[in-house]
Amino acid sequence: MREMIEIQNLVKEYKSKKATVLGVNNVSLTINKGEIFGIIGRSGAGKSSLLRCINLLEEPTSGHVFVDGVDLTTLKGEQLRQARLKIGMIFQHFHLIRAKTVYENIAFALKANHKSPQEIEVRVTELLDMVGLADKRDAYPAQLSGGQKQRVGIARALANDPHVLLCDEATSALDPETTQSILELLKKINRELQLTIVLITHEMEVVKDICDRMAVMQNGIIVEEGKVYDTFSDPKHPTTQSFMKSLFQFELPERMLKQCQGTIVKIHFVAPQAEEAVITEVLRTFDVKGNILHGKIEYIHDNPLGILILELIGDGAEVQRAIDYIAKRTHRVEVLHHV
């Protein structure tokens, strides 16, 4: 796989009178052509600074940013402008020109690329069809819903056939349903145009739904990086783990823990074992009773990832054998509570 974006030792400092803050602290990252890469972090983690350094909206203090083989940090003025034509960007608050219609907003991007009015007409019509807004062509942004505004933003960002699309919290201002439809659209254009997408978000759901690989950022550093499924099934860094908790929220009430008679175990399933009938086998093989207290299965790129909290009731030794058996057949077992 060819790399599309290569970030080398990127540092971004913010100087104020009182102190120098490191927004991005020596980050190196490679993003491949055609993948959807998610950067997740809490606010202030530096993810936005990192993203904005990719198209040099913010000038890195040091380090290099290669996009499609060109070191953007060496470009100035007209050359940088030309490079930016091939890097689309969408924003949390859309940033459309309010005094211009949907058509004119998209045409603006094509004008920047010196297209003729005829070419603009054809291309804008094409783009409006692609984002499903053909009927809103002459509407002003104020007349559109949040989701529709973001669709205009996407059409504008894609106008000049960019190699890369940067998404700056693109769904954070949208309701869950609209978020889903925008994510579907991003997935579609990623597939159809082989477009490399880099998105930053603080929502685990977004990463889970559309990203191939991900990085977790904190205090300006990437603390964890890898395939989304691997990171989700085996989060290593505490920050990643705490993000996972937002997805797998499993707190059993105190009362339950006090009342239960058996051993409570938390079982982590990953593909492909998650598809096997491990629990049924355990209950048949060993002389224990099972009681499901809690559970959830998420599908990441069609691969299941699940957590199940099970109460095992029976003779101590037999329960232990059952746990050992489960441990062998699943990803991980934690004993939460012993009788």
Binding site: L57, M89, L96, A99, F108, A109, K111, A142, L166
Partner: protein
Amino acid sequence: MFDFSSVIEILPDLNKSFFQTLYMVGISLAAAIVVGLPIGIVLFVTDRGLFLENVAVKNMLGFIVNMIRSIPFIILMVLLFPFTKMITGTTIGPTAASVSLSVAAIPFFARLVEQALREIDKGVIEAAVSIGATPWMIIKDVLLPEAKPGIIQGINITAISLVAYSAMAGIIGGGGIGDLAIRFGYNRYDDTIMFTTVVILICLVQLIQYGGDFIAKKVDKR
């Protein structure tokens, strides 16, 4: 007491003065727009963090603008006598008054334009930069359309201030309604003429305000 016949008598003078006022306000407003608008734009786009950041230009232009604005108009007029004479060949009459009115109006309007541009969401400008738009495109297709309601309000305020300033020009023989008010009202203690000119000025200002608000609302797409 209000003497209606003296108003009839003065009507030709009143008519002439009214058009002199419109003439002075018109010329200096045009100068303010033609010269002040670009200055206002330059003041904005050369500011820190913007796409044509240039501290030297920003500071120098800002200094000149502040300097002219800090001179009281009546003194500015006198100060500009040699300049006015150079351009128009005279220092009295509406055309001569238009010179100093223009000089006062240009920096005033430039600041109002800068203010209107500051109201624009920075994100929209940033989006245009990220698209790869040229500075000229950003000015023409983002800054001006987005700030249009604010700029129209600025023209409005400038026009109204110019009506007031043009009356001051009357003191040194600039012509116009202010000139009339001083000649009759101040020098001859003619309250009727004084009162009439004030009513005319009030009506003129109300009309400008109303018209400006109407247009500003019409172009506002927010």
